[in-house]
Amino acid sequence: MRVTLRHAGQPELQFECSAGDTVLAAARRAGIILHVACEQGGCGACRARIVDGEVHYPLPASARWLDEGAGSDCYALLCRAVPISDTLVLETAYRWRQRESAPLSRLMGG
């Protein structure tokens, strides 16, 4: 499955996500550092708008962050969202970073 990240002011980014992996786990494997906090589906730090595609939640995600202020939009919590469509396009609330840009992370992350 292919995940596309969008955020105003950043070039679009794509990475592969294995079946059953969360977007966060797949991003980390691809060297992408997403903005997260609780990593447990509660705090909303990783909330992103789903532009295209579908996700599901094997572990709980706080319904209020999926619903609140969503209107006709659809939101996901990336720490727990698992893609179930071949393509998933997300617009994140915060900038992401790439691990390659940090020398120490490159040494440690391989």
Binding site: H35, C38, G42, C43, G44, A45, P60, S62, A63, R64
Partner: protein, 308 residues
């Protein structure tokens, strides 16, 4: 009106079993009771009342309501009348509908989070017992060495509206506030007891919960708590162990398994005095970074945005 203290938080969690494990084995509370609605009641070591935390099974994280004790049963009628006169809807909560506590009066703050006032609490005693106790809990008591639930911080789009209500109607005192150049309140710290905050209001979306803080006896215990967080791989804020400029406490923030934020902390100063007679400390917004995180002199971009 005499609200004596912040006494419990009723929290919504998406996985009750995981939450109980966290609050017992990481935070260090005692499981006291469970009810037919699946709610679990917990208490800290140094409090005799039935609970300082209720965990409610829910599909969202966040706060259901915040419990405050009053000094006299008659305060409940007085509070209900005063709150209704202020224009906020009041509901009565029957004794026993929340385990271990008597009649209550429930209402929303201007920012939407609910408060519940009550007088009677069933007594379960200190963790060390009520007869010829040892001064310390038994070795092997799980979790952090927290003594009590101390304070909570909630989010508000207009913190000043909550400050007005809490000081004018419920006789809270403002101990510290953060103001922007125009004088608007960005954050406020209020007390109804002896220490500098029982309830704090920060900038953020109405109705949301920022954190609840568990008090510890010393900075050493906070360090022990951080070791526990690391051993249990509990997600924590990127800052901390650190110190707040506001209140001066030693602190670390972390998350429960539903993302509700907790704090281990030590060292709040005493702020006794008649309501309104202890002038607040004022922080200008340009100094807020030092007030929030004294060592780092910076506030993470999302510190106030991450709420449940």
């Amino acid at each position: 009106m005499a609200i004596s203290r912040f006494s419990y938080a009723s929290m919504n969690v998406m996985d009750v079993a995981a939450a109980v494990r966290h609050y017992v084995h990481v935070v260090g509370l005692r499981e006291i009771d469970r009810d037919e609605r699946g709610r679990v009641y917990l208490q800290a070591a140094d409090n005799q009342d039935h609970h300082c935390l209720i965990l409610n099974p829910a599909d969202s994280a966040g706060v259901d309501h915040l419990g405050f004790k009053v000094n006299d049963p008659a305060d409940l009628d007085e509070a209900a009348a005063a709150v209704a006169a202020y224009g906020l809807p009041v509901t009565r909560v029957a004794a026993g509908s929340i385990r271990g506590q008597g009649d209550g009066v429930r209402f929303p703050l201007p920012s939407g989070q609910h408060m519940l006032l009550y007088f009677h609490a069933e007594k379960i005693g200190y963790v060390t017992g009520m007869e010829n106790p040892s001064p310390v809990p038994p070795q092997g008591t799980p979790g952090g060495r927290v003594t009590h639930l101390d304070h909570t911080l909630i989010a508000a789009q207009s913190p000043q509206d909550d400050v007005n209500f809490l000081t004018q109607v419920l006789d809270f005192s403002l101990t510290e506030k953060v103001v922007d150049p125009a004088g608007n309140t960005l954050a406020a710290f209020l007390t109804c007891g002896h220490t500098m905050h029982d309830l704090a209001i920060g900038p953020g979306p109405d109705g949301h919960f920022h954190h609840m803080a568990f008090g510890m006896d010393s900075r050493t215990e906070v360090i022990h708590g951080v070791d526990l967080l690391k051993e249990n791989a509990v997600p924590a804020l990127e800052y901390g162990i650190t110190r707040h400029g506001i209140s001066g406490v030693t602190t670390i923030y972390f998350h429960d398994p539903s993302g509700n934020r907790n704090e281990f902390y030590n060292g709040a100063y005493l702020a006794p005095g008649a309501p309104g007679w202890v002038p607040p400390i004022v922080w200008q917004a340009e100094h807020f970074a030092r007030g929030a995180f004294y060592y780092e002199n910076a506030v993470p971009e999302t510190f106030f945005a991450e709420v449940t």
